[in-house]
Amino acid sequence: MNFDFSDDQKSLKDQARKFLGDKASSKVTRRVLDDAAVSYDEALWRGVAEMGWLGAAIPEEHGGLGLGRLELCVLAEELGRAVAPIPFSSTVYFFAEALMLAGNAAQKAALLPKVAAGDVIGCFAVSEGPGAPSPFSIQAKFENGTLTGAKIPVTDGDCAQFAIVVAREGAGVSLLLVDLNQPGVTRTTLKTLDPTRGHAKIEFKHAKAERLGEAGQGWDLAEAVLDRAAVLLAFEQVGGSQACLEMATEYAKSRYAFSRPIGSFQAIKHKLADMYVAIEVARSNAYYGAWALSSEAAELPFAAAASRAAASDAYYMCAKENIQTHGGMGFTWEVDCHLFFRRAKLLAVQAGSPAVWKEKLVKRLERRNAA
């Protein structure tokens, strides 16, 4: 039985925590939060690139470190913990994973090295409006090598150079690679619940685009990308949840009411114990997702859905109750509670809401039982 990270992976984690402690304090996150014109922190992005994290899972032949997905998971947990204001997930979990999954040799050779070097920010564009998208709801259209339609919202879509877009092609759906720096592309920045990350509406008018993978395979590929991203996002969510629990615990030990630390009251104790239980459940499911992702196991679709369902609910609960534990202080702008509360919601909806993933989980269980 070897269901935990290795010592090397754990020391990578410690190293990451130390690095982010210095370079990604909440001051850094707040610089992006407070300035609508800034969509991410460039210094941190550079630093993360220099650490090699952007290419952690990218093969050495393409300029990456060629480490496994497990290393990416421990980095994700630390980035989530830090509420890092950079387009890491869009570029690494979605864009790079999609390229590695579905890209041809030329596409990989052209873009993966740039991703690893931090020279290319990528994003993943599926949503076109309110509600969960489906293969039938997609309106953006790919015809004669050009893309027309609108995607809203696109997380990190305001700062990305390239997008992977889910679009209709004939009767089916295809995955497309689009250079966003071309005349046929218009972007509008969006105001969102989580201003520590950039969001845009992207409109395409006969924009040049090339297929990623086979025509008509787009939806299945998107689902496969989402499964991989789900596991990595789950680690960010677990990291954020853990940070909320630790923040609430520290406060509960030092804050006095009725001449006692509030952490000595059962109402607070049991609230924090419930947070702890939710996190342990989420963490254990996420580890299973990590194993399935790293070993390319057939269990990945099931494990990814379980990881994501557990982590989304845990983060919402922990972020919400962290505020409650802080009382009035927690409701102020100056205290960091709301940074987690905002990010928790972004992470919960950006790759499909909890309800969507719970339905996937049950479907996949049924499929597994049928098989």
Binding site: G129, R255, A257, S259, K320, A355
Partner: protein
């Protein structure tokens, strides 16, 4: 059982309605939020003018004694006026705390000269009042207030800080809970004062909320002088005075806020279901949750009808009024969150021009956490239900028989 007014109540309701129709414009929708369009200064002018008209027409201080310029009516008539007023765009908010909590405390504890000085002006809307109880170190535990008032001749010198003060920025006066004796138990060393908010040494700073708004203030006191005649109750009796004020607060809070189930129903008709075909409203998981919201929202509304009935019968309202805030704050949180998640990725957009209902669900998501805390946290309210309603014993106390200055504070 019926939901009808008594003849006397019906007559009063008609009278109130007539006054309101002549004075304010009706809300478009029953649940429309009061227009925030007015700038603070204009809003304040409008509010004062409206309050003046209310006073002239006899709708201010409905339950107050005639001697205080009130109308000496039973509480039910106050509720009836409130019900009617809620249907109009009436700028009454600025006076809620002053006339609802502060001035009644003045009436209860001040001498005639003091009452003559303050009550009538407050009633006519000429002066606005705020409540200065909470402190950074005394939130749930208000009796731990450490803002200090030291006797000096005929005056008291006040130093300290209050927080979460609504309306401090435009208030003329406030009632201030201060520590006048740190050498006795915490409940026994407090004294209540009337403080002039324009006095030298009083500084008001807005608090920046996580939701972005600035609805509350911090108030700093530096060497502020309060004449002893502005003391309410005896020195050391301040906690007893504060309890009178807080009793009124419990009746004030607990209204419903933010979008309720009717509004998420509108959204659910247009959104696709997250699972399976059709609209969200056809999703069985949503429908079951939706039913729970109906049950709680209706249950809360109907509990208020029970309270009104008690008032209408001249009885003391039952404890059912205590459940309001616990239900509403959490339901608002849940509805806001459910709406955002149902929008899926699009739910992250809170731009009022793009988000459904001008982003009202997003406002709920960011404001509900505050409502779970303001005016008594969920935890405090449950303690109150457990102790005052069910009669369960107090928690083990760490401060029994200990002088305030010797109490552990963790600092």
């Amino acid at each position: 059982m019926d939901f009808n007014d008594t003849p006397e109540e019906a007559a009063f309701r008609a009278e109130a309605r007539a006054f309101l129709e002549a004075t304010c414009k009706p809300k478009a929708a029953e649940n429309e939020r009061v227009s925030r369009s007015l700038k603070p200064v204009e809003y304040l002018k409008a509010a004062k003018a409206y309050q003046k008209k209310k006073a002239e027409a006899g709708f201010a201080g409905i339950t107050w004694a005639k001697a205080q310029g009130g109308r000496g009516m039973a509480p039910i008539f106050n509720v009836i006026f409130g019900q009617e007023e809620a249907k109009f765009d009436a700028p009454s908010q600025a006076f809620a705390i002053g006339l609802g909590m502060c001035v009644p405390t003045v009436i209860a504890f001040a001498d005639d000269a003091t009452k003559d000085r303050y009550v009538a002006k407050a009633l006519k809307g000429e002066e606005i009042w705020c409540q200065l109880f909470s402190e950074p170190g005394a939130g749930s535990d208000v009796a731990a207030s450490k803002t200090k008032a030291v006797r000096e001749g005929d005056d008291w010198i006040v130093n300290g800080q209050k927080v979460w003060t609504t309306g401090a920025q435009f208030s003329d006066f406030g009632i201030l809970l201060a520590r006048t004796n740190p050498d006795v138990e915490k409940h026994k060393g407090l004294t209540m004062f009337i403080v002039d908010m324009k006095a030298p040494g009083v500084e008001v700073r807005p608090i920046h909320q996580m939701s972005g708004g600035r609805d509350f203030n911090e108030v700093y006191f530096t060497e502020v002088r309060i004449p002893d005649k502005n003391r309410l109750g005896e020195p050391g009796q301040g906690w007893g005075v504060a309890l009178v004020t807080l009793m009124n607060e419990r009746l004030a809070v607990g209204g419903s806020y933010g979008p309720d189930y009717k509004e998420i129903l509108d959204l659910a008709r247009t959104l696709p279901s997250p699972t399976g075909a059709g609209q969200l409203i056809q999703n069985e998981a949503f429908r079951q949750k939706f039913a729970d919201w109906i049950v709680r929202a209706e249950g809360y509304k109907l509990a208020k009808f029970r309270t009104m009935t008690a008032l209408s019968r001249g009885q003391a309202p039952g404890p059912e009024s205590a459940i309001g805030k616990v239900i509403n704050a959490n339901q608002m949180m849940d509805i806001g969150n459910t709406a955002i998640e149902a929008l899926d990725h699009f739910g992250i957009i809170n731009d009022g021009d793009l988000a459904p209902m001008e982003g009202a669900f997003h406002q709920s998501y960011m404001f509900a956490p505050g409502l779970r805390i303001a005016g008594g946290t969920d935890e405090i309210l449950k303690n109150i239900i457990a102790e005052r309603v069910l009669g369960l014993p107090q928690d083990q106390r760490a401060d029994k028989g200990v002088a305030f200055k010797d109490l552990p504070t963790g600092r």
